[in-house]
């Protein structure tokens, strides 16, 4: 039987070294893709896709209740198998990020739960999780002080930087850095790093990612405008 492989144009461009390294992969979102949740979104960045849903402000378990603010819960479901310690760690990082973004003091004694289902990891999965969670929170109209956007940068052995790397770029890279920015001042909220990098490389990655984060925020605004003006 004849077999053939499908080659995406962006992969081809990356392979041939022609692809512009400073552009994010195409983003598409489907807001309100599930009906029962307060907010839901299916976000794809290139071939990386994740579904995030938000419940909240909802009833909170007694042992997690905080009298002065809402409890933020994050659950991450991998594509196959049960969640492992690495996923727990990712949950923790995402939770800490969103605790800063959500105006939790407006809804004391309640829970805001974010559930993320990984559907396809083709590189930059962490950024996709953060961005889909933020869109789901916007879809649920949860009060937030600011929005967040994550951008991943991969550093190759040769010193070249790849923005929004694919899976192959990530495995070949000597280090992978994910930066999370807030929407007001574009300051760094969270950095998740893996591998070796110098201070200069970190700074260069930061500059690159910050520029790209602007386009992510623009994407948020366009997605929300489309949704809100449709239901008018």
């Amino acid at each position: 039987m004849a077999s053939f492989t499908v080659v995406k144009t962006e992969d081809l461009a990356a392979e041939q070294g022609k692809g512009p390294a400073c552009v994010l992969r195409g983003q598409t979102s489907d807001l309100g893709c599930l009906t029962r949740q307060d907010g839901s979104v299916s976000l794809s960045q290139g071939d990386t896709t994740s579904i995030a849903v938000v419940y909240g402000p909802a009833e909170v378990r007694i042992n997690k209740e905080q009298i002065d603010q809402a409890t933020v819960e994050v659950v991450y479901r991998p594509k196959v198998g049960l969640p492992r310690p690495e996923h727990r760690k990712q949950e923790r990082v995402i939770r800490n990020t969103f605790e800063a973004a959500i105006a939790a003091s407006l809804h004391p004694r309640s829970a805001i739960s974010i559930i993320i289902q990984e559907t396809e990891d083709m590189g930059s999965n962490f950024s996709c999780c953060i961005n889909s969670s933020c869109l789901a929170l916007l879809d649920a109209a949860v009060s937030m002080n600011f929005m967040v956007a994550a951008v991943t940068v991969a550093l190759k052995e040769c010193g070249e930087m790849v923005l929004d790397p694919t899976k192959r770029d990530e495995t070949e890279a000597k280090s992978v850095l994910s930066y999370v920015f807030d929407s007001v001042n574009l300051q760094v909220l969270t950095v998740v790093s893996c591998g070796k990098f110098s201070r200069a490389e970190y700074r260069n990655g930061l500059v690159l990612a910050r520029e790209a984060a602007k386009s992510v925020f623009q994407f948020y605004r366009e997605s929300m405008s489309k949704k809100l003006l449709m239901s008018q």
């Binding site: 649920a140 109209a141 937030m144 002080n145 929005m147 239901s231």
Partner: protein, 240 residues
């Protein structure tokens, strides 16, 4: 730059008082849901459309599914539990509301109202504070029921987005007007997104429920067209 009234705003957007009122900076304004004053600036907390009403009320009109209690709202709740003198009622917020048995028309210590677990009540929010449990009542200030109380005799309860519920409550609502021309039915809408409908028979009730749910993303002409089709379909079904 003037404030973007009628445009989409998202969390993190800010504007100054001067932007809101270029002519009179010192006039008093009132900030509604989704807006917060912070260091002489007005900050947007929720994504939505910025609205303005005279003389100086601003708020963000956003698309919610989860209800957040506000004082004076009329809601539909489901009685979940009886605890001593009060009922615990689910109104769709993060906490169950409490409803005293004395806050029904004509009820006294001796003459208790007939409310069972699972009943649907149409009530008004008396206490709605983020730090306190919401409390609802089924009487107005004069001790009259004023249409509130337990909803009995069948019908169907379903949940919609809060936007749709507010649209239905608009006196100019095209959907209810055009449905009302073709069917005879009772409807009660809570701002917590719960809608109860009862028509002459089950077929009509189901048709009405579906048309309400389907109307969310339709404009007025499409709604009229849909009502026409539904009434045709229902009359055909009833003949069979």
């Amino acid at each position: 730059m003037a404030a973007p009234i009628g445009n989409v705003v998202i969390p993190g957007d800010t504007f100054s008082l001067l932007q809101l009122q270029p002519n009179d900076e010192h006039k008093k304004i009132l900030l509604g849901p989704g807006l917060k004053e912070e260091e002489a600036e007005i900050k947007v907390l929720r994504p939505g459309i910025l609205r303005f009403r005279k003389p100086g009320v601003y708020w963000v009109d956003c698309h919610h599914k989860r209800y957040i209690p506000a004082k004076g709202d009329s809601v539909i709740g489901i009685v979940n539990q009886k605890v001593g003198d009060i009922f615990r009622v689910d109104i769709g917020s993060s906490e169950q509301a409490s409803l005293s048995y004395l806050s029904f028309e004509g009820s006294t210590k001796r003459n208790r109202p007939d409310v069972k677990v699972g009943d649907i009540v149409y009530a008004k929010l008396l206490v709605a504070n983020k730090d306190m449990e919401p409390e609802i009542v089924c009487i107005d200030g004069y001790g009259r029921s004023n249409g509130m109380g337990v909803i009995r005799n069948g019908g169907f309860l379903f949940h919609t987005s809060l936007n749709l519920a507010r649209k239905l409550l608009n006196p100019e609502c095209t959907l209810l007007k055009s449905l009302g021309n073709r069917f005879q039915f009772e409807i009660s809408v809570g701002v917590n997104g719960r809608v109860w409908i009862k028509a002459a028979n089950d077929v009509q009730t189901i048709a009405l429920v579906n048309s309400v749910i389907a109307s969310e993303y339709k404009d007025n002409d499409q709604i009229k067209e849909m009502c026409k089709r539904i009434s045709k379909a229902v009359s055909r079904m009833e003949v069979d």
